[in-house]
Symmetry: D2
Subunit: 340 residues, 4 copies
């Protein structure tokens, strides 16, 4: 079997996940090279996952003629620029979310990819989760009719360090970005206006860093539906990832995922173990599926299921949500920037 | 056993429910008299539930020295006035929700009751529901810590006729009023500001009558928590009544109630029957419990668990929610009127 | 409304339940008289539920021309004889389970009732429970096809005193008797053979009294299905009442019933409160429904839904189950006595 | 990393599963060689999973000095003999269940492995399933106290062809064998006596082939607990794999596993998709875990978690269950053969 040769830029947590996935779960691809600004991180990953080459830099990796596609897992502020350079080098691109915090830089990156004619897929892995894919299917197939009320609940088990919270662009760009993507994916519709109620309830340090840790964001969709995103940086019981849509013909709601289906009944309560604790456990299979889809899009020369525009709109939504929070009023996405 | 003698004003649907409850479920009270503007309705109820007297009018009923307490179940526009007259007649009062659509009239009614020193309980029956009482207990006892995110889902199985929708004061005063009460009851906190996103998605007639049938209302609580009320006039699967609170130490969420706990597995799906279809089935026991509590408050001379102020604040909330809908901006309750 | 005049023989726990039900929940009947070998028990019940007469004895009660029907709630050893006397007095009869431990005495009682042409209903209340009625309906309507595997789980929250266990005829006659009735009711089929594996796991005193407290009873049905009854005198989490049937076209399974539908998620577990603790809470409505059905059968002159033969067969099953336990071999019901 | 060199004997369905697992999921091992009596099957597997060598025969594979351990996935009648030869060749052995239908042959195989000092692990993969491992943990850690009542429900989505049913040794040796292992694993106890009620309810052809397709098997454990195994060759809703244990301090029960956690509510029902359909989907991870454990036992020189004796006792149980079925009486395992 001919294998797609992939280069990985960034050997941090998510870079290692992708490396392991490509090494063990996707026979159609192999990791030909990896790089990281901390060379020892790249070397460790290479050793763990049998990667034959460690590049000194992204430049070196992108210059390798063997590499046909790159997975960009470096820090967010490097994404846009790396997309441009990878595109110019003729490499197909899978880039982690968010593309950037600046719409201008995103636009430049998207244009570069378009100009070069390379594939560009954004790392919104949740689209490939079995629960959310099932919800999407219910909408597409008319099983629940026209969506009217949409709820996305997305809570983390514990907040990141406050310094990370600030550097990451804040909760809306770092965490809610996934939920903004879900809102679009699940409904197949676009949001026109948002209203944010948010606060600091979990960690005062996050507040001092200028961010929030708890939020409700009201979404108004073009098609008339309304919805909410519910975010918390800390649900003590763990990772809480649910959606619910009421449609004209029915509703669909997902529950959390658990490490087992055992229920214990004692003299004081009926109980079960906590849900899968964080995204590495909860979304394991979706990380595999998104890469499988990317490799397939490249090999079969088809459109990626999560394209560049899908990477841009959620950033607009995040900026609008932030603006709404700061001004305590509903904000139309058009105020922040064009969504197409 | 000495029984409390109760008079019932209004022999419509809810009046009959209260009459039946008093006749068969609450040995500590008896219905001494009933009246209705349609005399035949009062007579039918009297025959069904063994009520010895049918009064020609509310005046006549209130003039009866035997009657110690009244249950006001007539149309909303008569509530405030009847409270005043019942108070002046020295009768204890149980009044259906809402007290009135006008804060001035509510204030007059509350003052009359206070001046007369009679008990006044408002018919927010859901406080006596086992699910919601359990949630309240979790908050009171610290089981889930400090509330941070509050969700109230309240959907009807089918919309009322559009003409009713208009006459009732609109969805916020007629239907959401219960949810506004829940928001206060469950958290033990007061809402300071609301923001409404709403629309007409179920029945265009309701829109033509000037009302909405689908809404999301964001609540900001004095204590810092934020929340939503989710309303629909029509969930095709039936009556949907759930709440969920995320607190600093845990969360509590309630599910719907069903006519049975049977699950059927077939070659195409795993299924169960639809939930209890509407409030008469879903909240049966809460109607009994609220009257039991009222009778007890009168007999024991204690404060009613749902007092006059509890009847006033939700009206302020409803007016603010409507204003927010009309102006598409967050509205502070203080803009509409004092909440105390 | 003409009311059926009922006499109650036995003012113990279940007698009081029936008295309260007739007093407050069934307008079509009234309790005209009550009696108990402890006169003060009868008087207390009369005071609580507004019963106008307390009879000195069952004889006196049965001699009252006013009494049209009797509810027999006295101790099991008096049931058969009282049925005979009530039948001879021309009274319709509702008798608690079991009718007797002796098939001869049961036969005499059934014959007396048949001869007198009075209604005879046995107190197998679980047939009127919403869960089990739903399962029955699934079988009757073909929703799950032909039953193949049947499981009845029936566990008490705590064992009775060992002396009661002995006097009651043992677990099979006292507790499992309900499950034997369920096996027949749910499937609409008859059991031909049983095999019992049982032991003393809960309370050694029960063993010393010659009884068991834990059992599995295999049932072979005439129609080919096989099944089990699972009994324990003590499930620490409370009353466990479930059934499950696998049929050729699907399965149906019921879950326990709970005081509320709230789920609490904490840092250590996802939990809910314990199920309704015992039969008085779990089967409240079924006690009402069985009496309603009895009153209706008398008033409308129709066959009771649980007739005399339904009171006899479970006793045969219990005797066969005991014999199987003692001899550790499958026992055909025909070895113990005719089932018709 | 040093990798364990594994040879696979048998490239049928389960052989391919193990080959794929070793190729992609267990970095500590590699498949060095594969063989099958149908050479093209071995070649196809070699191509799919990058296996460097295809052996002409088991003899040739066992003669390869490179091969350190073998996975025996050939037909059941070859297992015992291959264990002997692999042991004599000094290879560590993982053998699919059942070892054989003859206790004499099993004993010879176990003795050969013991004599050679090689590891022998039997393919009871369900021990490595998250649900059943959780139940085992509840028992081991005393979470539910002493087991009293044990239920194992194990139903297939569809029966095998009748000819397979016969060749496989019948349902008890082919299908129930896993449940016999579960009974021992979950409780940590041994069964002393079984009683079988069984029949042909699914496919008359299975009956004509001398086998049954539906069964209830009562288990009496040495420690006093009693239990049942519930088997059906056909549950129309799919693969049904649950266990439930009542202990002195609580109970634990597992539910089925589903492809998603979405619930759809419509105008007619509340429903979810069918459970994972068969063992390849339901037990995917347990197949990985059992091989991981085997590789670890070999590499670390520790006792396999499922040893040779664990392969023998379930065969005794199956033979006793069959004898009980034929003679319709409880059968002690000692009647069939020693369990140690």
């Amino acid at each position: 079997m001919e294998q797609l040769n992939v280069g990985i830029i960034g050997a941090g947590r998510i870079g290692r996940v992708h490396a392991e996935t490509l090494a063990f779960r996707i026979p159609e691809a192999r990791v030909a090279s990896i790089t990281d600004i901390r060379r020892e991180a790249a070397e460790a990953a290479a050793a763990s996952f049998g990667i034959p080459a460690v590049a000194d830099s992204a430049e070196e990796l992108l210059a390798s003629p063997e590499v046909e596609a790159v997975i960009i897992c470096s820090s967010t502020d490097t994404h846009a620029d790396l997309i441009v350079r990878a595109a110019e080098a003729g490499k197909h691109i899978f880039c982690e979310k968010p593309v950037d915090h600046s719409l201008e830089k995103i636009d430049r990156a998207l244009e570069a990819a378009a100009r070069a004619g390379v594939k560009l897929q954004i790392g919104f892995n949740r689209r490939f989760d079995a629960n959310f894919a099932r919800v999407r299917r219910a909408v597409v197939e008319g099983e629940i009719g026209t969506p009217q009320l949409v709820h996305i609940i997305s809570r983390d088990p514990a907040p990141p360090p406050a310094e990370y919270a600030a550097a990451s662009g804040g909760m809306f760009l770092d965490m809610t970005i996934h939920d903004f993507d879900m809102a679009r994916f699940l409904t197949g519709d676009e949001v026109e206006e948002v209203y944010t109620a948010a606060g600091v309830m979990v960690d005062p340090e996050i507040g001092r860093a200028g961010d929030v840790d708890t939020a409700l964001i009201v979404l108004r969709f073009r098609g008339g539906a309304i919805g909410t995103i519910d975010n918390s940086r800390k649900a003590v019981y763990g990772y809480d990832q649910r959606v619910e849509i009421l449609g004209s013909r029915g509703s669909i709601a997902t529950a959390n995922c658990y490490p087992n289906e055992a229920v214990v009944s004692t003299a004081t309560e009926i109980r079960r173990d906590l849900p899968l604790n964080f995204f590495m456990d909860r979304y394991t299979e979706s990380f595999v599926e998104e890469l499988r889809a990317f490799v397939r899009a490249v090999v079969d020369d088809t459109e990626p299921l999560v394209g560049g525009a899908d990477g841009r709109v959620p950033v607009v939504m995040a900026l609008a949500a932030r603006k709404s929070y700061e001004e305590n009023r509903p904000v139309r996405l058009a105020e922040v920037g064009p969504t197409r």
